[in-house]
């Protein structure tokens, strides 16, 4: 499967689980997307724990201009007040529409679990066909030392009451996926 087909499959499968998926030119466009979605929802706090500091300052700047509070690490002090989170994925699985997130840093987990809106960026070049295609990466990571890796697919959900689907249980109410066209620098 060529990379365009994989991207198309990724988008289709992620939408099946109510994720919002967009293709986007680069990080700055992603930052604009975050600010816009937050403005629509009137969210006032943002955490972005694994965005490269070299880029994060531009997002912080945009937040300041938009009247959004930048929640800095450690997030444990602010667990009751993270409305939105922007995180970087370490890859994706097209077949299931899943984001792969190496979240050894607990701040990544706190941000992706306690926020109401989770926006996650993945590079188009890092979308894999299926989970077996990342088996060696997982093995290497797990063998190397302690770690916490998540596959995230859609927003948190339940069907525990009368099998009626409800989105947003303990984790985020919304998951937005941004597919970045630019390669890792």
């Amino acid at each position: 499967m060529c990379s365009e087909d994989r991207i198309a499959l990724m988008m289709e499968r992620a939408k099946l689980v109510q994720a919002e998926v967009s293709r986007i030119s680069g990080l700055d466009a992603a930052f604009d997307y975050v600010i816009e979605r937050m403005r629509e929802r009137d969210y006032k706090t943002l955490a972005a724990p694994n965005v490269d500091p070299a880029d994060a300052f531009r997002l912080e700047d945009r937040c300041r201009k938009a009247g959004i509070e930048w929640v800095a690490s450690p997030l444990r002090n602010r667990m009751r007040n993270i409305q939105a989170a922007l995180t970087m994925a370490d890859g994706a699985i097209a077949e299931t529409g899943s984001m792969i997130q190496i979240s050894d840093d607990e701040d990544v987990r706190i941000a992706t679990m306690l926020s109401e809106l989770h926006i996650v960026c993945v590079r188009a070049s890092e979308i894999h066909q299926d989970s077996f295609a990342v088996a060696h990466m997982l093995r290497d990571r797990m063998a190397a030392g302690p770690g916490y890796i998540s596959f995230i697919t859609g927003a948190s959900r339940t069907a525990d009451i009368e099998r009626v689907l409800a989105i947003g249980v303990h984790g985020p109410l919304e998951l937005h996926i941004l597919i970045l066209e630019e390669a890792r620098s």
Binding site: M79, S98, D104, G147, T153, D160, I161, H170
Partner: protein, 726 residues
């Protein structure tokens, strides 16, 4: 607290309560139909049979090496800062977890869903030791608040209505709540439990898989509570059945690939979490999580070495065996299991929760094979259930009367057949000849719960007595077949065999009927009377002499499936292997013989036949894997096949099952008959005389009953006698 009846009479009371719960039946009925569709969709385009076989053999391989895998996991995980424990008993496991909580000065514990923790009743122990325990999976939280056990392994609260949950949440929060608004109820749980996540000192989780090569545990969750439970508190304890160990990440990914699809029809759960060693946790002084993995033996290590039962440990807890079980869909999990529910529950209860909790529930299996057909790791669940039943009988050392009768009569063919003939004579005054059923029986013989169907009368003359005058010899037959007629056709419905003989002569097929054949032995096997089943099996094998024929032809799907699949298993080592192989290869059902072997042409049948509904017998569609031939045959024979919902769901007969559990049998049957009557057909056909008895018996109790026939009869009827097939 979970209370499972220890005897049949208490069990019947519980069953009746479940059947009287209309919400439960509607909810489970809707679920059963929806599940099949979403599962099929989830596996679209996948070679599922291959994947199942691969996963089953990967699990078997792992089960052979559990001690080594445990050692590998322990080394790997300990090197990364995890404390690894092996608890030999449920009590040991509870003590270990409780000690960890005490050592870390924990007061409040949060839990994400773990069947293994349910198995060892961990909450009871922790609460007795003074800890506050909060379940965080929505379904588990609901049943915790209600002091109940789970009624499904994946959906623990599926037995409850939104109104029940809403009322419960009103009591818990003291706030008003719209009893229809499920979305609102989920929000209540979110806000109530969020505080628990933020303040608890310890999190307990299960694990779906434990990867030995890296010391990693894998968890599948949807709500996000699993990630929160393992992230926020300073201490994380995973309680894991030792059979969850797999050698490598590749095997683990196979389980992740199959489990959610088979459980709920999801391609994957919202979260798949892989935890290796001590991860970061800033709440602790050293910034590292205190991490324990407690592996539970509780009999598993011994079970893994058992030649018959080790396959039960392949189970990945998807719950599919309950999803498709017709009994489950009528009575729910609280009535079909102890902690573990559904087909696998009937088996595991014996090993984890003892004979008393197994005694009654283990009998509640129709042997319809639906569970086996969806098990993602190919566990032969119906067979293991019968084997557990046998163990229970042995433990109790007292056999039910019906078992003693079966073993006495069935082993001796002459005695068995004379008894049936004597019964045919004795029943005469009670028979309604126009319908072929017993008109009435004294109440002493039959309690009112058996009145859901008319009881078929035994035939005046069994087929075996007609045969001497029917016997024929063809000069150049296209095929030579030996007929295995089966007791139900022989003694109750010989007209079905007469229809077959008419067709055989018309299509130039030579039938032989050896008189020394007897009951196939399935009823004995169903009652766990294996010695008797083996005895009659050997008698039949010798009588049929399959080597001399092209096919062993059957009219009864149950007999056919037992001869084909049951005999090789039961008789292995007791007879020459070649005899078993020949029989296995040559067994064929009526419809497949007509359509696939004789390739009959529709020209030889009268057109414009009846609108015909079809019931797929369990032992034909799942036992023998025959699904297309009968439906084609209906159309080929000039009738019109009219599809009905849930054609492949059991009719509720199950031989002695319908006598032991008439109330459930009736509920299953009635749903089937509703579907048929709503389809507006002229006739209902099937290819098993047992199903015919059940379906016809039920129809005769209804207004405007649809006639029920064996498929051989409606085919024979439409044969153009003037035009002999070439």
């Amino acid at each position: 607290m979970i209370e499972t009846p220890h005897d049949l009479s208490a069990y019947h009371v519980q069953i009746q309560q479940a059947l009287n719960n209309p919400f439960l039946r509607t909810a489970l009925g809707n679920f059963a139909s929806a599940y099949k569709i979403s599962r099929q969709k989830a596996f679209e385009g996948m070679d599922l049979q291959r994947k199942r076989a691969e996963l089953a053999s990967a699990k078997d391989e792992a089960l052979k090496h559990l001690p080594e895998l445990f050692e590998r996991f322990r080394q790997q995980a300990q090197a990364k800062g995890t404390h690894v424990h092996l608890a030999h008993t449920a009590a040991d496991a509870c003590r270990i977890v409780s000690d960890i909580a005490r050592e870390n000065a924990v007061r409040h514990i949060i839990k994400s869903k773990s069947m293994t923790a349910e198995e060892i009743h961990l909450n009871d122990r922790l609460e007795a030791d003074g800890f506050l325990v909060t379940e965080t999976d929505l379904g588990e939280w609901i049943i915790q608040l209600r002091h109940e056990g789970p009624s499904h392994m994946v959906m623990p609260a599926i037995h409850l209505s939104r109104q029940q949950v809403g009322t419960l949440f009103r009591q818990v929060t003291g706030q008003p709540l719209d009893l229809e608004d499920i979305g609102r109820m989920v929000k209540v749980a979110r806000s109530e439990l969020r505080e628990a996540f933020l303040t608890a000192g310890m999190g307990i989780s299960g694990a779906n898989v434990a990867v030995a090569e890296t010391g990693t545990i894998g968890m599948l969750t949807n709500e996000g509570n699993g990630r929160l439970t393992t992230t926020l508190p300073g201490v994380h304890v995973a309680v894991v059945g030792i059979e969850k160990l797999v050698p490598d990440i590749d095997t683990a990914l196979r389980i992740v690939e199959i489990l959610p699809k088979n459980a709920t029809g999801q391609l994957i759960t919202s979260y798949v979490t892989w935890i290796t060693g001590q991860t970061t946790c800033s709440t602790n002084p050293d910034g590292k999580k205190i991490h324990h993995v407690v592996f539970l033996d509780n009999g598993r290590l011994r079970l893994a070495q058992d030649p018959v039962f080790s396959q039960a440990l392949r189970c990945i807890r998807c719950g599919a065996c309950a999803n498709v079980c017709p009994v489950y869909s009528k009575v729910g999990g609280h009535t079909l299991g102890h902690v573990y529910i559904g087909a696998i529950g009937l088996i595991l209860t014996y090993f984890y929760h003892g004979t008393d909790n197994t005694r009654a529930i283990v009998r509640n299996c129709l042997n319809c094979q639906a569970c086996k057909s969806v098990c993602p790791v190919n566990i032969d669940l119906p067979y293991l259930i019968k084997q557990v039943y046998r163990r229970v009988l042995d433990d109790d050392r007292e056999k039910p009367i019906k078992n003693r009768l079966v073993s006495t009569f069935m082993k001796n063919r002459t005695l068995f057949h004379s008894a049936l003939r004597a019964a045919a004579a004795a029943q005469k005054p009670l028979v309604d000849a126009s319908k072929g059923v017993i008109r009435h029986l004294p109440y002493a013989l039959l309690k009112p719960e058996h009145h859901f169907r008319a009881i078929p009368a035994l035939a005046d003359t069994p087929f075996r007595n007609m045969w001497p005058s029917l016997r024929y010899r063809l000069k150049n037959p296209t095929h030579r077949v030996v007929l295995f007629v089966g007791c139900a056709v022989d003694f109750v419905s010989p007209e079905q065999a007469l229809a077959l003989v008419k067709l055989a002569i018309a299509f130039n097929v030579q039938i032989d009927f050896p008189q020394r054949q007897t009951c196939c032995g399935l009823p004995a096997a169903m009652m766990a009377e294996e010695e008797t089943a083996v005895d009659v099996g050997i008698q039949n094998l010798e009588a049929l002499d399959a080597e001399r024929y092209d096919y062993v032809l059957t009219l009864c799907a149950s007999c056919a499936s037992h001869l084909k699949e049951g005999y090789p298993r039961m008789l292995r080592g007791k007879v020459a292997p070649v005899r078993l192989e020949e029989l296995h290869r040559k067994i064929i059902d009526f419809s497949s013989f007509m359509v696939d072997v004789l390739a009959i042409d529709s020209d030889v049948f009268e057109k414009d036949g009846k609108r015909t509904a079809y019931h797929a017998p369990c032992h034909l569609c799942r036992g023998l894997g025959v699904t297309e031939a009968p439906r084609k045959l209906i159309d080929l024979s000039g009738n019109t096949y009219v599809p009905c919902p849930e054609e492949d769901v059991c009719c509720g007969f199950g031989g002695s099952y319908s006598i032991e559990f008439p109330e459930i049998s009736a509920a299953i049957l009635n749903q089937k008959l509703d579907h048929v009557q709503q389809a507006g057909v002229d006739v209902l056909v099937t290819d098993c005389p047992g199903c015919v008895m059940q379906l016809r018996g039920g129809m005769l109790k209804r207004d405007e009953p649809v006639p029920v026939r064996h498929i051989a009869e409606i085919v024979a009827e439409r044969l153009k006698l003037s035009q002999k097939p070439s």
